[in-house]
């Protein structure tokens, strides 16, 4: 209402303009939005959520229940903690919140994150926190102090307390000066500790202008100097604008030089409000009376004290105009309330700490230590400044709390307990009337204490009201559970820089820039970006894939296969190790050869597959599926470290060491001949499933070439170190140009392999499929032991009607079966129709001139030649069951 001419911690030379609900205002540097609004005479800042009642600014800090605002795109903030800045635009949040998409995503970017470690984390830079920080810092310990205010000092910023004979803020300045000289001490202001987790891990949010920084602090010890929150009093009309915590009014006067009213009635059960009243009166506020229910009142004071009385009700409609006390009405525009103080025990409670109700202090006090957390100062129930500074405490008189103030009339419809949730004493009565006795149940039934403020002014108040209504001692009721976050935190801040392209790492190959330049359409395989197909001008995906397939079957095509996982397996027992890991035998594989292998989990289900080369008697290069490389390495390490430590074998991931290109098709031999002029390429000199080291002059020299085919065509895979991958790719394309070499993507690769009935682990399998189910029985050794072998002879895994991989040829060759489609024997039987399998892969084949699919079908191999049906909702597609090898059954294309 009034900005004082002097005092406060504002900069009168730095006026700031801002708007609130569309109207322009001015304030000063150092103001909060709330203090600037109060200085401008704005008393009503919200409309309550259920009853639409006007609500004013009630507190001066994070405990504010009413003044919720949207500020410059930040969806929900308390006006009491928003620092005023020039041009700030705020809007009151009225009624129920609405989650809207931010207009400008970029505006929310730029939040930061920081990890920190320390010996001692002090939460709160008030007198107790600064004392603890100095004590720890002087030992040379690494200390971090976090405080939610803009500067250190805690509530000393908001009072005119003295330390010795000097203003307390002089002591604060001296303390912060000493801390600044300690190199291992860091003080973070504007930083709120949001949550405490196991092992001294505390997450805190730092405000940096419109941006934020999330601190993840790991501390050997946590000192909680979190202070106390003032309690309101519960009386009729206690929600009217103008009813305010006494300590908040004191803060507005002392810190912001604002008087939040002209004439006040103080209603208190605690001596602290007397000091507040004295300081406010000195600043110019008229104190009409002090109403103190305690028969003897409080300390000596110059004001009229109505001891032994209560405020029976606040009057007024839009805002408070007076109070009824002892049968008379006292006019006022401000009711300053104080029902005592609650230690801020949120983090302590999150640490699993127990709270004890202290009858002398009339509050729940942390008892002992919990999970590396020690509590000091007001948070520990030490409310005297001397006690917080480590001197001899000066306890006040025993508290005499008043939890519920009856009105002049019966009923509790305007006795508010939770101002944000609009919960009244009548609501709590209703909860108790249903038979609820637990404060947790009453909280959930009434929603008291569940708002953004986590019940900072309402949770213990609600317990007090329950105590008063039921006549049960506070200590028997206890508190509700404390859960993070202490104050609201935006998802954008939690996300930090993990957004946009940094949200999820992308893995790219050495050839990636070429794929991008060529206009490839990419697909994600694990974290890799792989070209899915390369559309030509005017081509859709289907046309591109048909063209790429035709090139591989009739001419030559090339694919970037660098993403395959690669594991270097070395040691004298490497052959024996692979014999145990794969279902088929590797120990006798000759050096210079390679072999397709299948590995199972212990349950006999297929886990991964790939081609492994023997590089030397004691060295193999294993390849894995693209998405499974890390899981396979973990699997190998698990067996080596836990089951077979006697085997002298070591594994090393070399996935990114090698870039690879598959050269596929009848003309691939011509291309490789041009690429590697020194290589003998005829079938006798370089047979299928062997590898050679050779010189590829266009790609840095040394290369490894293997005759491996995942398409059934004559094919080579050429590998060079990653550095030469792009050169290799370009050299392959140059060498293949005379033959019309065509780059192809994963979709064409899938079609080509499916035409040959080669399964893809993870697409045609789902962890319930054995090698035999896939038709890979030939790769399952009958003579050696391997992981999963015993499971394969279980009655369930060896029964004949398991789902087996088969081909499906739709009767109408234009009809494409969706992957995942369920298959039935007879679509006309009544529901529920028994399912006999499902489609795992489905494509259009250039070679077959029709669509086809792979499917897992019950007893599928015995159904070859029969017809099955896929009910697709609007139609039923019939398909003939076929051998999964649909193309070149004789393998005539393999050798060119």
């Amino acid at each position: 209402m009034t900005r004082l001419a002097t005092g406060g911690r504002i900069d009168r030379s730095a006026p700031l303009t801002f708007t609130f609900d569309g109207a322009p205002y001015t304030g000063y540097q150092g103001d909060t939005l709330a203090s600037a609004l109060l200085a401008a005479g704005v008393r009503t800042v919200a409309t309550s959520i259920r009853y639409g009642r006007p609500r004013g600014i009630f507190a001066a800090g994070v405990e504010e229940p009413n003044a919720l605002v949207e500020v410059d795109g930040e969806p929900m903030a308390t006006a009491t903690t928003v620092e005023l800045r020039d041009g700030l635009t705020a809007r009151s949040l009225t009624g129920r919140g609405r989650l809207t998409a931010p207009d400008d995503q970029a505006d929310q970017a730029g939040h930061d994150r920081m990890h920190a470690h320390c010996d001692v984390l002090v939460v709160g830079a008030g007198p107790a926190g600064l004392t603890a920080a100095l004590e720890a810092g002087r030992t040379g310990a690494r200390v971090i102090v976090v405080d939610e205010r803009t500067e250190a000092g805690g509530t000393l910023l908001e009072t005119r307390d003295l330390v010795g004979d000097a203003p307390a803020l002089a002591w604060v300045a001296a303390a912060t000066g000493l801390l600044a000289e300690l190199p291992e001490v860091r003080v973070l202001t504007r930083t709120t500790a949001l949550g405490r987790y196991d092992d001294g891990y505390v997450v805190a949010a730092e405000r940096r202008g419109s941006r934020g920084r999330l601190w993840r602090i790991r501390a050997a010890e946590v000192v909680l100097a979190t202070g106390a929150h003032e309690r309101p009093l519960v009386f009729a009309g206690n929600d009217l604008p103008g009813v305010m915590l006494a300590g908040a009014a004191r803060a507005y006067a002392n810190r912001y030089a604002v008087l939040p009213g002209r004439r006040a009635v103080v209603f208190t059960t605690d001596d602290s409000a007397y000091a507040a009243a004295a300081e406010l009166a000195e600043a110019g506020l008229e104190i009409a009376a002090v109403v103190d229910p305690r028969p003897g009142g409080g300390p000596d004071t110059a004001f009229e004290v109505l001891a032994g009385h209560v405020v029976a009700g606040a009057t007024g409609t839009a805002e408070v105009t007076g109070v009824r006390v002892a049968g008379r009405e006292i006019a006022c525009d401000l009711v300053l309330v104080c029902g005592g103080w609650n230690p801020v025990a949120h983090l302590y409670g999150q640490a699993g700490g127990r709270l004890r109700y202290d009858d002398d202090l009339a509050c729940f006090v942390p008892e002992g230590t919990a999970g590396r957390c020690r509590v000091v100062g007001a948070a520990a129930g030490e409310f005297s400044l001397a006690g917080c500074l480590g001197e001899e405490p000066r306890p006040g008189p025993p508290a005499a709390p008043v939890w519920l103030v009856p009105g002049d009339e019966p009923g509790y419809d305007t006795h508010f307990v939770d101002l944000q949730r609009d919960v009244t004493v009548a609501d709590i009565e209703a909860a108790l009337a249903t038979g609820m006795t637990s404060v947790e149940h009453v909280k959930r039934y009434t929603t008291a204490g569940t708002a953004h403020d986590q019940g900072k002014t309402s949770a213990v108040t609600a317990v007090g009201v329950i105590s008063a209504l039921r006549g049960v001692p506070m200590g028997d009721l206890g508190t509700t559970t404390f859960r993070p976050p202490y104050t609201p935190v935006s998802f954008a801040l939690l996300a930090g820089r993990d957004r946009g392209v940094l949200h999820d790492p992308v893995l790219t190959t050495a050839m990636h820039p070429w794929h991008v330049a060529r206009g490839a359409v990419f697909e994600d395989v694990g974290q890799w970006k792989r070209p899915h197909h390369y559309p030509g001008p005017g081509e859709d995906m289907a046309a591109a894939v048909l063209r790429e397939c035709r090139a591989a079957r009739e001419g030559v095509a090339a694919m970037d296969v660098s993403t395959l996982g690669k594991i270097d397996v070395q040691g004298p027992d490497a052959g024996e190790f692979l014999n145990r890991v794969y279902t088929n035998a590797f120990a006798k594989l000759p050096v210079g050869s390679c072999r397709y292998g299948v590995m199972c989990r212990a349950d006999g289900m297929v886990f991964d597959d790939g081609v492994t080369m023997r590089l030397a008697p004691d060295r193999f290069l294993m390849s894995t599926t693209t998405g499974n490389a890390a899981a396979v390495l973990d699997w190998l390490e698990e067996w080596l470290q836990t089951e077979w430590p006697d085997l002298r074998v070591r594994c090393t991931s070399v996935t990114d060491q090698w870039a690879g290109v598959a050269v596929v098709g009848p003309r691939s031999r011509d291309v490789v001949a041009a690429l590697a002029p020194g290589l003998v390429l005829d079938n006798a000199g370089f047979p299928f499933m062997t590898w050679r080291e050779t010189d590829v002059p266009g790609a840095g020299g040394a290369a490894r070439v293997a005759r491996i085919s995942f398409s059934g065509e004559l094919a080579y895979e050429v590998y060079v170190p990653w550095w030469y991958g792009l050169a290799l790719w370009e050299a392959v394309l140059a060498a293949g140009e005379p033959y019309g070499i065509t780059p192809y993507g994963t979709e064409t690769m899938h079609v080509l392999r499916a035409e040959k009935g080669y399964p893809i682990i993870g697409q045609d399998t789902d962890g319930t499929v054995t090698p035999v189910d896939l038709g890979l029985g030939w790769a399952v050794s009958k003579t050696k032991d391997f992981i999963g072998r015993r499971s394969l002879s279980r009655s369930d895994t060896s029964r004949p009607d398991r789902r087996q991989l088969v081909g499906l040829l739709p009767i109408d060759g234009e009809e494409s079966l969706p992957e995942g489609a369920q298959l039935v024997e007879d679509p006309d039987v009544p529901v529920p129709v028994p399912m006999i399998g499902h489609v795992t892969s489905s494509y259009r084949s250039a070679a077959l001139g029709a669509t086809f699919a792979l499917a897992l079908v019950k007893g599928g191999r015995d159904r070859i030649g029969t017809t099955v049906f896929a009910p697709l909702g609007d139609r039923v597609v019939a398909a003939r069951v076929a051998d999964p090898v649909l193309y070149d059954k004789e393998g005539a294309h393999r050798d060119g």
């Binding site: 820089r497 790492p505 040691g571 070591r650 996935t655 002059p697 840095g700 550095w723 792009l726 050299a731």
Partner: protein, 192 residues
């Protein structure tokens, strides 16, 4: 065809060299790729000169050098696990007296090296690295396998500027470079 190998080789971050230069703030924090560093992964029972103390690096021979392992500098042995080391630099892979290596794998192209140096380098790392990098805990000669952002990295502290070498998979280097450039942005302008 037949060009010298150096003419056609590409480092994983070669195409981002200008961006890394632009993100650097001399005197505060600089970032650059140290490309084509020879790296050999060695696994086996260990023994001198392979460091036995976890998360430490050692140099081969008697030359007193830094812990960088530059192409032109010393060869360093980075502890990766109780039976695993990364030999970084041009020197020979030392033998293990009395015990054979069970595995020696050239992984020079598997990872590239990013050097982050300057007074703010530690703070940049702490934006995404959860381990304690305090100079008393992670001084020059220390190494760790950890996360930076969402990238798995080997971090070696090489000198007291401080400078750190980050070893990152070639395929993931683009992500890491993007993350570092984003994390260093606040040092570009002080009106952040």
């Amino acid at each position: 065809m037949g060009e010298p190998p150096q003419a056609v080789r590409r480092s994983p971050l070669g195409h981002l060299a200008a961006e890394l230069r632009a993100a650097s703030v001399p005197g505060t924090v600089t970032v650059r790729e140290v490309p084509f560093v020879r790296q050999v992964n060695v696994r086996g029972p260990g023994g001198k000169p392979f460091p036995a103390e976890p998360n430490t690096v050692a140099t081969t021979g008697d030359a007193a050098g830094d812990a960088a392992g530059d192409a032109e500098g010393d060869t360093v042995l980075v502890w990766l696990g109780p039976d695993e080391w990364l030999v970084v630099g041009p020197g020979e892979v030392p033998g293990m007296p009395g015990a054979e290596h069970e595995s020696v794998a050239d992984v020079s192209a598997h990872r590239t090296v990013v050097e982050l140096a300057g007074p703010a380098a530690r703070e940049v790392l702490l934006k995404g690295c959860p381990i304690d990098l305090h100079p008393g805990v992670f001084p020059p000669g220390r190494c760790a396998q950890t996360l930076l952002g969402r990238a798995q990295v080997i971090i070696v502290c090489v000198d007291e500027r401080p400078a750190y070498r980050l070893f990152v998979r070639a395929s993931l280097a683009g992500y890491l470079a993007g993350w570092l450039i984003d994390a260093m942005r606040e040092y570009q302008c002080h009106t952040y």
